[in-house]
Chain length 227, copies 2
DNA sequence: TTCTTGTCACCTAGGTGTTAATAT
DNA sequence: ATATTAACACCTAGGTGACAAGAA
């Protein structure tokens, strides 16, 4: 069995409509897909991998900008989905490894990157921007038998967490998603308005919060109460 | 067969008497031990690992400081070696992997760290400061046979490159070693006096070369001509 | 005196959203 | 108009030798 890590954070994003940036060079997911695994044979070898399947057959588009909302928080259907991207798969870099190894700590897919470049040759996952995707997690038992191909059907298990669904985008559409990313991703700390909790601790006189100040004056929408 | 990478740099250090820093938290080696491997069975599994054996049974000490030399460049024998440290081994983190995987690129032991902490529980290599060591590189063939233990003797090969010998130290003794490390290790770039080659390219007005200026006025010994 | 330790400024390496310019 | 790109300031994370203080 498999348990999704940071489920509370995934739920919070999912409630707003998770968006994941895709770039030409490849962008990591945030939250990162991480799981705890139970019930493996400690001595057997397993491959762990992920893939992404379309949630529906639709292409989405941003809602028109009103006078007061810079970006709206919902989506319009723009039509039928674009041609499917190459259905790539991301093997966890530690694969193959023993069950004991996989189970003794959280398995993190933080090396996985998303791209919209159909010609990508870095092995990244290729997705269509403005389409919705469902991440899937697969566990493959490495069968030591010589005729293992015959048992391929029974040697893997697939796990789907619906709360990890997202829309691939090249720029964030929902400002609340942006704010939640900024609030929860350590690498976006530079864009935080203020974190009263540990601000005095981390504060260095040399660091000028230029962008933060700029962002503050720029964005009329207040950020959600998330720590 | 195995080929040592950066042999020219290793030779340059070895000629001066290579020193490697050991710290409580663990310190990487520089140069990093890297090899190219040839002649593996592409489909077979191998484990790659390193260990470190004493070169001799001696403890060394710094030569007394003369009036003109802040640190001398040679060593005195201080007596018999201290009790041997726990003989740890460092498995390359990609182990086990197929021969094809190992051979298709340079194998780098840049995660290996040296410590002088006898109670280290981070899995680092424990060495005695002021003792000389010889790194060794081992290739272990993962024998698929059930009674593989019986063939252990013929299933591994050891490679020794004498030019990678070094003295473990907690602070550099030979100033020329320090200068060569600064000149050749990218992470020590902050201590470079000046590199006329690519200085205009890398120069940013904001970066004040404070330490470099200080070091310049502090060290009477000129650095070797190394780029 | 010699050796070790902990802190520091200065780097490398790379992950963020922002922004302006460009493409569609 | 909407969508994408590329450069950028600001971070995280961690590898350097210098230095001062401490230990042996």
């Amino acid at each position: 069995s498999v348990q999704l890590e940071m489920k509370a954070l995934w739920d919070e994003f999912n409630q707003l409509g998770t968006e994941m940036i895709v770039t030409k060079a490849g962008r990591r997911m945030f939250p990162t897909f991480q799981v705890k695994i139970f019930g493996m044979d400690p001595m057997a070898d397993y491959m762990l991998l992920m893939d992404f399947v379309p949630v529906d057959d639709k292409r989405y588009r941003q809602v028109p900008r009103g006078q007061y909302a810079f970006h709206s928080s919902s989506w319009l259907v723009a039509g039928k989905a674009d041609p499917a991207t190459p259905g790539r798969v991301h093997y966890h870099p530690d694969s193959p490894a023993k069950g004991a190894q996989w189970m003794k700590q959280i398995v993190s897919f933080d090396k996985l990157k998303l791209t919209n470049n159909l010609l990508d040759d870095n092995g990244h996952i290729i997705l269509n921007s403005m389409h919705r995707y469902q991440p899937r997690f697969h566990v493959v038992y490495v069968d030591p038998r010589k005729d293992s191909e015959k048992y391929a059907e029974e040697n893997f298990k697939t796990f789907v967490f619906e709360e990890t669904r997202f829309t691939a985008v090249t720029a964030y559409q929902n400002h609340r998603i942006t704010q939640l990313k900024i609030a929860s991703n350590p690498f976006a700390k530079g864009f935080r308005d203020c974190d009263p909790e540990d601000w005095p601790r981390n504060h260095r006189p040399g660091a000028l919060p230029l962008m933060s100040a700029f962002a503050r004056s720029r964005n009329p929408v207040s950020s959600p109460a998330h720590q």
